[in-house]
């Protein structure tokens, strides 16, 4: 049985708690209004960081599918669409019935196209109604109106199809963060920009004669995404990866010296190889999935 201990002195027996509750009673009238929020009539005051229903900016979205990749609950999917302005595109949809509102899809979006709104009244009559396709999520103005949490940097972005390997940008860069790297078997070199060092001074973009380097807004990404590893020996030069890449980071370039000699002595078209601009890569794994010849390896990405 319990030890019989002397109770500590609580003065006033029951007077103090009763005074406290009486104080609260009086205070409730002085304040005029109790603490309750009469919910359907008074709207909750939510902070802008609140994670509610998603919105999708169609113009910003590049259809990379990183959001689908990172979703812990597999509640997102890519849907092929035909848009009058944008043509054939792929955009994500969200199943709100399975979403756990963790916010990873928003954080991982390389172009800040996905956002959470403060809308939380998502109840519906049927489970199917909770599947929000891209058209229902579309809001092309929302993303411009909010202050982005992530840092936005203006960085030179390389368009390899215009580049002539003139090396002018290398000389111009004050931070010496642009290095010309030779591309294997193509016989050309391309500027490789160390984005960590880049200050966004725009000098390389000004000096570029072909406008191959352009300054664009790039959002800082805190997730380390998988990088594609290219195996040249398996590449057939079909170009599927280049077509699949949403970030425009893979270019097909001709390899001189691989032309087949045809019967009539003329030379045929040379073989092509894929050139990866890894600074632009968003790590979505679409090239890996598009490649039918096991020329691209991406550890950690599902086929």
């Amino acid at each position: 049985m319990a030890d019989k201990k002397r109770l500590p002195k609580s003065e006033g027996l029951i007077i103090r708690p009763m005074l406290r509750s009486g104080t609260q009673f009086v205070r409730s009238f002085i304040k005029g209004k109790p603490n309750t929020i009469l919910y359907p009539y008074h709207i909750l005051d939510l902070p802008p960081t609140y994670r509610g229903k998603h919105t999708l900016d169609f113009k910003r979205c590049i259809g990379c599918g990183n959001c689908v990749q990172i979703c812990p609950n597999d509640c997102m999917w890519m849907e092929k669409l035909e848009d009058p302005e944008l043509g054939k595109i792929e955009r994500p949809g969200v199943d709100m019935g399975r979403c756990l509102f963790c916010g990873f899809c928003v954080e991982v979006c390389p172009t800040a196209a996905l956002h959470h709104t403060v809308e939380f009244e998502l109840a519906d009559y049927q489970r199917e109604d909770l599947r929000y396709g891209p058209r229902e999520l579309r809001d092309d103005t929302y993303a411009d109106g909010i202050v982005e949490e992530r840092q936005k940097r203006r960085l030179p972005v390389l368009d390899m199809s215009k580049c002539t390997s003139c090396e002018k940008c290398t000389g111009e860069c004050p931070e010496t963060c642009i290095v010309m790297m030779p591309i294997e078997k193509v016989g050309r070199s391309r500027p490789e920009i160390d984005l960590a060092k880049c200050t966004g001074c725009e000098k390389c973009a000004i000096v570029c004669p072909e406008k191959a380097l352009e300054m664009k807004d790039v959002y800082e990404l805190y997730f380390e995404m998988p990088e594609p590893k290219f195996l040249l020996s398996n590449c057939t030069g079909c170009g599927a990866c280049s077509r699949a890449c949403p970030a425009d980071a893979i270019y097909m370039m001709e390899m001189p010296g691989t032309e087949k000699v045809l019967k009539d002595g003329k030379k045929g078209k040379p073989k092509k190889r894929a050139v990866f601009i890894l600074e632009k890569c968003v790590g979505c794994g679409k090239c890996f999935r598009a490649c039918k010849f096991a020329a691209i390896e991406m550890p950690g990405v599902k086929k």
């Binding site: 319990a2 109770l7 500590p8 609580s10 406290r20 609260q24 960081t49 812990p72 963790c102």
Partner: protein, 357 residues
């Protein structure tokens, strides 16, 4: 007569079963049974990448979800060798202490209803709302914050956060004094608590009890002091200890911890440096093991991850404080009345989410 208290019973605060053998109204035997809420979180985590695990660890405990995701991030950082920016550490400490106060207030609320004091329930829940709002502004969600990340925190602190949190600390310190009047000033509360559910110091240590129930037995063991993690060494605070070992001591320890948490939040807000709040964490963990221990509001939480070089953990183990503490329940229960079950089990602050995992 065996009485099943649970799985659906107001006393349980979740889904578990306490079988109590009573003689009249005196308890002669007790058997806690857990396992009704088992979700296999450890196994789920093995199928997910390191990033995707963070929201799952939030779901471990509905009372203090931030502590658990913080613990996971600590463990993963230990495994990957990521250096966290100092600003992120201070933000984390402030957020954890807010979570601790919110969790203790929820405990206070539940404890009040256990003892039949509805007033305490609603007041404590109302004041918990202040901290929930702060954490909501910080992280964007009300219950499952998903705020810490491997290598920092998800967002920077919102504008006015410093002002609001200092204001909230002052507010809650006022309120805590009010609670002390409401609880300790009441003779009935003291009658229900003093000398009830005595746990001896040796028993507590032998049974592996941690956290407030252990400190209420007079053992000064607080992981924030014993094995400092994060930036706790730079913060001045005193772990709350009470020698009595009964329900009142547990109540007192938690109340004191709330005062201490206010102190910690103030210091963390004042000492918070400028700078980055997040670094990029590697996708793949190296081969090896990582371990993290934190002082959860309920006791010592521990996580252990084995990495095998891929982006998913090979094995993840969670040590939950309540799973261990509840095994000490029969020691505390035997010899008391049925009505004391609610006081004793309520004083342990049961959280079945982490217990069953």
């Amino acid at each position: 007569m065996w009485i099943n208290m649970g799985p659906q019973h107001p006393m349980t605060h979740g889904l578990w079963n306490l079988r109590v053998k009573v003689d009249g109204e005196t308890i002669v035997d007790a058997q806690p049974e857990v396992g009704y809420l088992h979700r296999g979180i450890e196994k789920i985590c093995e199928g997910r990448t390191y990033t995707q695990i963070i929201p799952i660890t939030d779901r471990l405990c509905y009372g203090s979800s931030l502590t658990w995701s913080h613990l996971y991030c600590l463990t993963a950082e230990d495994l990957m060798g990521v250096e966290v920016p100092e600003r992120a550490e201070y933000i984390r400490v402030a957020a954890i202490e807010m979570q601790r106060i919110a969790s203790h207030l929820m405990w206070l609320a539940a404890y009040a209803t256990d003892l039949g004091l509805m007033l305490g329930f609603l007041h404590a829940m109302r004041d918990r709302e202040v901290f929930i709002d702060l954490l909501q502004a910080l992280s964007g969600s009300r219950l499952t914050y998903n705020y810490p990340r491997i290598g920092g925190v998800a967002h920077d602190i919102p504008p006015n956060f410093e002002r609001d949190s200092l204001r909230a600390c002052a507010y809650i310190e006022n309120r805590l004094r009010e609670y002390e009047d409401l609880y300790e000033g009441s003779r009935v509360f003291m009658m229900r608590n003093v000398g009830v559910g005595l746990l001896k110091k040796e028993d507590a240590i032998n049974l592996g009890v941690t956290g407030p129930p252990l400190r209420a037995c007079g053992v000064n063991y607080d992981l924030r002091k014993e094995m400092p993690y994060s930036v706790y060494p730079e913060i001045d605070f005193q772990p709350a200890v009470h020698p009595a070992g009964d329900c009142y001591a547990r109540y007192r320890v938690r109340m004191d911890e709330m005062y201490e948490s206010c102190k910690i939040i103030r210091q963390a807000i004042q000492k918070m440096p400028k700078g980055k709040w997040r670094v990029v964490a590697p996708r793949n963990a190296p081969v090896g093991t990582g371990m993290g221990r934190v002082e959860d509001p309920r006791g010592e939480g521990m996580m252990y991850i084995v990495g095998d070089g891929t982006d998913k953990p090979y094995r993840m183990k969670v040590r939950s404080p309540i799973f261990v503490t509840v095994s000490a329940a029969p020691r505390m229960l035997i010899g008391y009345k049925v009505a004391d079950v609610v006081a004793i089990m309520g004083g342990l602050d049961m959280c079945i989410g982490e217990t069953d995992r």
